[in-house]
């Protein structure tokens, strides 16, 4: 049979020589090899203290955006939920009342917006689907939790800090501080 790649090597089946059968020498050779690894520099990254930088295209936990005036951008159109292959997004829409113009950008907004982090596969399709630039994938990942329900992120967890009233927090979240 012709091999697909030319890297395959035939297996040697000749009987062991006397030196090989006595094992000692070969074990010694093996120990030399492992001995070399003894003092080698370890590639380990000491996680909590030392963090690896993510690549710029890393897709982490979603954030819900606000515009420059601090109004929520999401209009609860549901396109992200439709696009989501993992069906991780649920939302409930509500109508903006008069006087809430400073809170919500559009006339309809998401009263409830939840992403189940255990379902989400961080594909980023919600970000692509959103017509309002309301949802983005950030560069962090969901921290561990003791309970499953802790992984259902609501608006509290997802919304970014208000750039007007919470400028400090926003800068911190963006890593600018």
């Amino acid at each position: 049979m012709q091999s697909l790649t030319n890297r395959s090597k035939p297996v040697e089946r000749k009987p062991m020589t006397w030196v090989e059968r006595i094992y000692i020498w070969n074990i010694f050779k093996g120990m030399l090899i492992t001995g070399k690894h003894f003092l080698k520099k370890k590639p380990t990254i000491q996680y909590p203290e030392e963090k690896r930088t993510f690549s710029p295209v890393f897709r982490g936990v979603q954030v819900l955006n606000r515009d420059e005036e601090g109004r929520e951008r999401c209009t609860a159109c549901g396109l992200c939920a439709v696009a989501c292959p993992a069906e991780a997004i649920t939302m409930e829409a509500a109508e903006r009342k008069p006087g809430e113009e400073n809170l919500y950008r559009e006339e309809k907004y998401a009263a409830r917006y939840e992403i189940n982090m255990l379902r989400c596969i961080f594909c980023g399709l919600c970000e692509e689907a959103c017509p309002k630039d309301a949802i983005y994938l950030s560069e962090t990942f969901a921290p561990a939790n003791y309970q499953r329900k802790g992984f259902i992120y609501g608006k509290n967890e997802l919304l970014i800090p208000d750039p007007k009233t919470q400028a400090q927090e926003l800068a911190k979240a963006r890593g600018q501080l």
């Binding site: 000692i24 090899i33 690894h37 080698k40």
Partner: protein, 347 residues
């Protein structure tokens, strides 16, 4: 009255020594587990335990605590008494060997010579052998009482392995005894100090055989057939949990420590330091003790190094090596030694 008084001091002295040696053995066994994990990690390009305390030095304590907190399980179909006896026996036999090891030369305290050896019996080596062979009962009884076919299979394997390798070990030792003319470990060390070179020079082959057999006796890789994780789940201590399992694991490390000490004593001059003569007896004893420990630590490290280098032998390979390899080799070694000694004494 006079005799009685002396006896009390003697008893006290021995008691203190026993307590010290047992705690040292346990401490060494504890930190062997830490060292083993470190060595394994380094060989595999990892860092190893480093979270519990500086350098992970508290890791053994954490492990011990964990074992204590685990649920104590007696399998329903097991033989309760034997099930409990197994780990106890394993631990007992592991500790008993330390009794005849000369840890250092005499201490000189308040006009008394205090030998740092619990019992300098003149059949030291024989005693070690007897006790080590009893170690197989820990494995055998544990595997049998678990009433689990994997455990039993592992126990049978372990027993046959230990018995086969004991033979070669004994033959290697006889060659050494031919040279020393004494079975007492204390005398053997003194002799090496006198002759100025260690027994390894005379018995390199014997040492090699002894070393391989010691690996087998301690159930260390490549001879850990009795606890082969991948094929027998966990071998003879599969059904064990909590501190009973801890005892088995611990006994393995105590065994490793003791056999390293014995090897250092028999073939590497024990507490004898070459080329250095220290006048003060107390200081000499201390230095000797430390030196013996350094040798032991080196052996333990080599044991671990081997474990993380070579894979496990197959059962037939194990038996082949034992019966067709080591025993004939040991016999030849014995024969050559005997002939050389005979020629030597005739001239």
């Amino acid at each position: 009255m006079h005799l009685l008084a002396i006896d009390w001091i003697f008893l006290l002295e021995k008691l203190i020594l026993i307590v010290i040696i047992i705690s040292i053995s346990l401490g060494v066994a504890m930190y062997s587990t830490w060292w083993e994990r470190k060595v394994a990690a380094w060989i595999q390009d990892r860092i190893g335990p480093n979270r519990a305390g500086p350098l992970g030095l508290l890791q053994p304590l954490a492990d011990g605590l964990k074992l204590f907190m685990k649920e104590e399980i007696f399998p329903a179909s097991s033989n309760k008494i034997l099930f409990l006896l197994g780990p106890c026996l394993a631990m007992l036999t592991a500790m008993m060997t330390s009794a005849v090891v000369p840890w250092a030369s005499h201490l000189h305290i308040a006009g008394r010579d205090v030998p740092l050896q619990i019992a300098d019996v003149n059949i030291g080596i024989l005693y070690v052998f007897g006790v080590v062979s009893m170690g197989v009962y820990g494995v055998m009884i544990g595997g049998w009482a678990s009433n689990n076919k994997f455990s039993l299979m592992a126990a049978v394997r372990g027993a046959s392995q230990i018995i086969s390798y004991e033979l070669a070990m004994g033959l290697a030792l006889i060659a050494l005894v031919l040279h020393t003319g004494s079975l007492s470990l204390g005398v053997i060390v003194e002799q090496q100090a006198h002759q100025g070179y260690w027994n390894i020079v005379l018995q390199p082959l014997g040492f090699l055989i002894f070393f391989v057999c010691a690996l087998a006796e301690c159930n260390r890789t490549p001879f850990d057939l009795s606890e082969a994780e991948s094929e027998l789940n966990f071998g003879y201590h599969q059904e064990y949990s909590s501190m009973k399992l801890g005892f088995y694991l611990f006994a393995e490390y105590v065994n490793m420590f003791i056999s390293s000490v014995i090897m250092a004593t028999l073939y590497f001059g024990g507490y004898h330091i070459p080329f250095i003569h220290i006048a003060d007896p107390n200081f000499a004893a201390l230095a000797g003790f430390i030196f013996l420990f350094a040798k032991t630590a080196a052996f333990i490290t080599v044991f671990m190094w081997i474990r993380w280098t070579v894979p496990r032998f197959r059962y037939d390979q194990l038996m082949n090596l034992g019966w067709k390899g080591l025993i004939p080799l040991a016999l030849i070694n014995l024969l050559i030694t005997a002939v050389v000694i005979l020629l030597h004494t005739q001239h």
